[in-house]
């Protein structure tokens, strides 16, 4: 059996420094075990305070776990003897895009900010230039390369921040609520880039969000609630457990909710119900099935 890309075993974390005070209640993460394979697109879903951002920070070792083990690509990164070099390697492998685009830009000029990561890797200037141009083209920001980052819109800034991570050529990118502060257009752009990175480059995507509609785009949804994993499965599987979701303060997307209600009342709904487009297709299919093709459009 091959080793999964990210393997988390019995992960526990508390923000309290003092070990004695670390009671069960103070734990933000309580016993999390999960495996993530290379190339997966996973949404990590949870409401505020569920520990999802903490989880992301533990994966890149910005925070050190209180207990448990994290293995990335065969290397146990929670090993206290982990060398600096291996830590840099981990952060090279797993890139991270944060919520506030303003707080992750290091330099004034767009292309210099994108170059920041590769510069830290100590690459050759010509190689950095090639990567920066490529990364900016990937997020369609190439015409802004010499602009000042402070004059861009939120969505554009976030695209630059993503380019900064792409330029490091990571194997996995964690989006820590990266769409939360954006307007609808910026949000759409960022989500589309996430899909593209997953589909075209095979990059493992971990999307941390509290938005069900965004989570529905992933191949797999992990639900965190109160520091534990409360659900793990495909969007279809997760959405079919609506009552359970409601109990932990979450709900399925509107369209999926409609389909579930219809199903409950005995309408023959088949097929995917995760995105609005899927729902339309499933609805059409079942209407044709029932009415024999009398529906237009």
């Amino acid at each position: 059996m091959s080793v999964p890309f990210i393997q988390v075993e019995n992960l526990r974390f508390s923000y309290l420094e003092d070990d004695r005070k670390k009671s069960e209640e103070s734990l933000v993460l309580k016993d999390i075990s999960v495996q993530i394979e290379k190339g997966e697109y996973v949404a990590i879903l949870g409401h505020n305070g569920s520990g999802k951002s903490t989880f992301a920070r533990l994966l890149t070792l910005i925070l050190e776990p209180t207990g448990g083990k994290i293995t990335v690509d065969g290397i146990e990164v929670t090993d206290p003897q982990l060398s600096d070099e291996e830590l840099q390697k981990l952060r090279h492998k797993i890139g991270m895009v944060f919520q506030n685009p303003d707080n992750q830009m290091v330099t004034t000029i767009v292309e210099e900010d994108v170059a920041f990561g590769p510069e830290n890797l100590g690459l050759d200037p010509a190689e950095i230039r090639r990567r920066v141009d490529e990364a900016l083209a990937a997020v369609r920001m190439e015409e802004f390369s010499r602009r000042e980052a402070s004059r861009l819109s939120g969505g554009q800034k976030q695209r630059v921040a993503i380019a900064g991570v792409i330029a490091m050529m990571p194997e996995c990118i964690i989006f820590d609520e990266s769409t939360a502060m954006l307007d609808p257009q910026g949000r759409k752009d960022v989500l589309r880039i996430m899909d593209m990175l997953h589909r075209e480059r095979g990059i493992t995507i971990l999307h941390i969000t509290h938005d069900m509609n965004e989570a529905a785009r992933a191949d797999r949804i992990l639900i965190l609630s109160d520091g534990r994993i409360a659900g793990d499965g495909t969007p279809e599987e997760i959405f079919s457990r609506r009552e359970e979701l409601n109990r932990i303060g979450l709900d399925v997307p509107q369209c999926a909710g409609l389909m579930l209600e219809l199903k409950k009342r005995g309408y023959p709904i088949r097929g995917k119900i995760t995105t609005p487009e899927d729902c339309v297709d499933s609805l059409k299919a079942s209407l044709y099935l029932n009415g024999g093709g009398t529906v237009h459009g």
Binding site: F98, V106, T107, P125, V132, V165
Partner: protein
């Protein structure tokens, strides 16, 4: 709003804009030395000519250069008055005698007038020359890059020039963000009834406290998030870091520096050959 971040930078395409920032920093030092070496009328004339040519080459509008001088008008007037009245009158041609005090004669002399005029020219050339060379034609980022590369030999004696350069560039990067924050906080406080405009100086200063404290808090928060983001992008200090945009020393940079060296040379030659011919000005 954002323009404050870029000081007085004037966007144009000129030879001086394209010059390597290192060249401009060295040239500025040479220029300052030249202004202080000027000792007679001819060398001052050369200095004026050089400054005028420099301003024409830079394509910075005269209006802007004059504006940058406006800030130092007071100093210029003060320097002129001091030189006008306090130049030694011994053996000088008196024009208007004021009186005697402590066994010393006071008044306006020909030499005093000459000195005052030259001092004014010196300050004017100094301000306009340096602002053309740096503030108008060099972005703060270029300036940081240039300065850090010029000082990089200091790394050998363990002065962390690269870290200072990083701090500088982050500071520059956050100026527009902080201005935006300040405006937002001010609006929020205004909406809650804070009055920033009325009252005396002390009352106005006190009204700033409810702006400064939230500003500090948000800056610390931003700083922490930025540090995390930088760590996530493998930042681990200056060691082993490369740069995408290396500064390139061009032939034109060498030529430019030569011109400034020539200016100093000419000033020195004029000082030596004209000693005793034209009145010397200290």
């Amino acid at each position: 709003m954002n323009s404050i971040a870029f000081g007085q930078y004037y966007q144009a395409s000129s030879g001086i804009h394209r010059m390597d920032p290192r060249t401009k920093i060295i040239a500025m030092l040479l220029f300052i030395v030249a202004t202080f070496l000027c000792k007679n009328i001819l060398s001052f004339a050369l200095l004026i000519l050089f400054t005028v040519v420099l301003s024409l080459l830079s394509r910075v509008p005269m209006r802007l250069i004059l504006k940058s001088i406006r800030g130092v008008v007071f100093i210029i007037i003060l320097a002129a008055l001091v030189n006008l009245f306090l130049t030694s009158t011994e053996g000088a041609t008196m024009i208007w005698r004021i009186g005697e005090w402590n066994g010393r004669e006071y008044g306006i002399t020909q030499e005093g007038i000459l000195r005052a005029v030259c001092m004014v020219i010196r300050i004017l050339c100094l301000i306009s020359g340096t602002s053309i060379l740096l503030t108008f034609t060099t972005t703060p980022i270029e300036m940081t890059d240039g300065l850090s590369q010029l000082l990089s030999p200091l790394m050998k004696i363990k002065i962390p020039v690269d870290l200072f350069a990083m701090m500088m560039s982050i500071a520059l990067r956050f100026i527009p963000t902080l201005i935006e924050d300040t405006r937002r906080i001010m609006n929020a406080q205004k909406a809650r009834g804070t009055d920033f405009s009325s009252g005396g100086l002390i009352k106005k200063a006190k009204a700033l406290i409810p702006i400064l404290i939230p500003l500090f808090v948000s800056s610390f928060k931003r700083g922490e998030e930025l540090a995390t983001a930088m760590e996530c992008r493998c930042y681990h200090g200056g060691a082993g870091r490369t740069r995408m945009n290396k500064l390139h020393w061009k032939v034109s940079d060498t030529m430019g520096l030569l011109l400034f060296a020539l200016l100093i040379g000419a000033v020195i030659v004029l000082n030596l050959t004209l000693r005793g011919v034209t009145p010397a000005i200290a």
